[in-house]
């Protein structure tokens, strides 16, 4: 019996074959689509919270203290791994993603220092200009601008938008491109408040933007070791670690959900397949009587199931690709965010699901089939 006859059953019973493939493809699509969307949250957070930390690190006061001690500042500035430690006032702004919000950095520093950062890390002004010294002006990464739905010349801040994290009202003077997803300004409203409280802003360090002399890792190792009750360092390694801790429980939950879905859908697919193979018992009975071994029949059944699952998997991925492309263009791009259409992790989840389908359906089908007395079928007992 030629192998090509193998799929003739499904070609002759298209409704059954299509409904099986449709259910499995829909499962693949659901899992790929949802896990890709969830991955996009992690990507957005990573981009907004971590991207700039690939070039430099922040040091800021913690534990009730509003500024860094002179000793800490001096220690950092004099370290061999540090090129320069720029005094900054670090604030945060809201970054939107489709499931909610996260935070992005806004660093307030001298105009000249901003210029140096732009030169050292290849940040390019694509529109407008850098903010002037001592002004309530900002230059923002172009993707951040897109995310907020703002343009150069617009104003933003809590005085303009109640949902905004950063106090006050700032004018956006320019947009820039590069790896550092953040905004730079020269004067913050918090600085104004602190000055009104009598703080000598010029001789007080509220935070540092620290650049490496040679490699970032060596500098970050020093900064991580230096963190204590009053000072914390936002380094690449720390940020990644924190992000992983925060998302690990979500990732685990996602994995559990995927497995539960896979097993549930496998049960449904098993029931349909069992009906199909029960209906075909006469076919298997006559083949056995003619002289085909049970092992040959098993191999054919297994090959049919694997082929069905594979076709469903490919179809599910194609549908996912189409939908994700649509969502990326219509939802994510206008928000200045990335949606990765090809995700290894999402692909792996679908492979896990398909593997569960194959194993469960083969086991159930073959175990039932193995117990059948094929000759009893021929005898029509």
């Amino acid at each position: 019996m030629q192998m090509k006859n193998m799929f003739k059953y499904y070609l002759s019973n298209k409704r059954r074959g299509i409904s099986l493939i449709f259910v499995m493809a829909l499962t693949v699509f659901s899992i790929y689509f949802v896990t890709s969307l969830v991955q996009s949250i992690f990507s957005t957070v990573e981009y907004s919270n971590i991207a700039c930390l690939n070039d430099f690190s922040f040091v800021y006061p913690v534990g009730g203290s509003s500024f860094l001690s002179d000793e800490t500042v001096e220690k950092i500035q004099k370290d061999d791994s540090v090129k320069k430690a720029y005094p900054i006032l670090l604030e945060y702004t809201v970054i939107n993603n489709i499931f909610g919000t996260t935070s992005g950095y806004v660093a307030f520093m001298d105009e000249a220092d901003i210029g140096e950062i732009f030169d050292d890390f290849s940040l390019t002004v694509t529109e407008g200009r850098l903010p002037e010294e001592n002004s309530y002006e900002l230059i923002m990464h172009e993707d951040m601008l897109k995310n907020k739905g703002l343009s150069v010349g617009d104003t933003f801040g809590s005085a303009v938008d109640e949902g905004e994290q950063i106090d006050g009202k700032y004018t956006i003077t320019g947009a820039f491109s590069g790896d550092s997803y953040m905004a730079f300004g020269t004067k913050s409203y918090r600085q104004k408040e602190l000055e009104e409280l009598g703080l000598d802003f010029q001789n007080t360090t509220f935070g540092l933007l620290v650049t490496p002399k040679t490699d970032l890792d060596t500098m970050n190792t020093m900064l991580d070791a230096m963190s204590h009750d009053e000072t914390a360092a936002m380094t690449l390694s720390y940020a990644k670690e924190t992000l992983q801790e925060n998302i690990s429980s979500i990732k685990f939950l996602m994995f559990v959900i995927v497995i539960v879905i896979a097993v549930s859908i496998s049960a449904a697919v098993c029931i349909v397949l069992e009906t199909i193979y029960n209906d075909r018992m006469e076919e298997f009975g006559i083949l056995y009587a003619i002289g085909y071994k049970k092992s040959w029949l098993f191999r054919n059944i297994i090959t049919e199931i694997i082929a069905l699952v594979f076709i469903s998997w490919i179809l599910g991925l194609v549908i996912s690709y189409g939908f994700l492309t649509l969502v990326a263009k219509s939802v994510f791009e206008p928000m200045g965010q990335m949606l990765s259409i090809f995700s290894i992790q999402s692909l792996l989840y679908t492979i896990i699901v398909m593997a569960v389908f194959v194993v469960v359906t083969i086991l159930v089908t073959i175990l039932k089939f193995a117990k059948k007395d094929l000759i009893a079928i021929i005898e029509m007992r």
Binding site: M1, N5, S12, E282, G291
Partner: protein, 220 residues
């Protein structure tokens, strides 16, 4: 050619042991048309299934060319190499065409040509691309016969092959079996004496025993 020695068949029915037949022995020679004749429930089908290695007896041996095959581990291979089967029900695979059904009998890649020739001989040339549901009962049974003989088996086993057919069609089927007898030994289980060919050897089965071994044949 085919030796049947001291075959017993028993089974447990609830708490009772039922004996279908006991101590049945006979030989079948090459080129014979052997009919296992008996009423319903006489055990003729069971005997046919045992002789053709589809069923295992409670006791006894089956020999093919003096080689014991009843205890063989490769019964599937022996059936494939030597036997063909026609049953009361045609068991054609519904999603395959007539030609594809006949070709299922053999692993060989060149079986298609032989299948077409055979189907033409059986008057089914115009139906080779049809699915079984479009065929009449007699046509389906002829396809089943084609499937059984396409790889030229040494022995063709037929279990009540005409039971669900009208008399005229049944006679046609028996005529085909007689023609096949030239190259194939035929063993046929049936309760209908009236359709057997004249040259048939009749083994009458009653009460679990072969009560008659008539080599003088049946009716035309």
């Amino acid at each position: 050619m085919l030796g049947v020695k001291n075959i017993d068949l028993e089974y447990i029915d609830g708490r009772t042991k039922r004996t279908i037949f006991s101590n049945v022995s006979f030989d079948i020679h090459s080129g014979e048309f052997v009919s296992l004749l008996g009423p319903s429930g006489s055990g003729k089908s069971s005997l046919l299934y045992i002789v053709s290695l589809l069923k295992t007896p409670t006791a006894g041996e089956i020999y093919l060319d003096d080689v014991m095959i009843s205890g063989a581990k490769n019964k599937n291979e022996i059936r494939y190499e030597n036997f063909g089967f026609v049953f009361q029900h045609h068991f054609l695979i519904p999603h395959l065409t007539v030609l594809e059904n006949v070709c299922t009998a053999s692993y060989e890649k060149n079986v298609e040509k032989q299948a077409k020739d055979l189907l033409e001989r059986l008057g089914l040339k115009d139906l080779i691309n049809q699915k079984p549901y479009r065929l009449s009962g007699g046509e389906r049974q002829r396809v089943a016969i084609a499937r059984a003989v396409v790889k030229k088996p040494r022995i063709l086993f037929a279990d009540e092959p005409t039971a669900s057919l009208d008399h005229h069609t049944a006679q046609e089927i028996m005529t085909i079996f007689s023609e096949l007898q030239e190259n194939t030994t035929v063993v046929c289980a049936t309760h209908d004496y009236g359709i057997l060919p004249q040259t048939a050897r009749i083994l009458r089965i009653e009460d679990g025993k072969v009560v008659e071994d008539d080599k003088t044949g049946g009716n035309e």
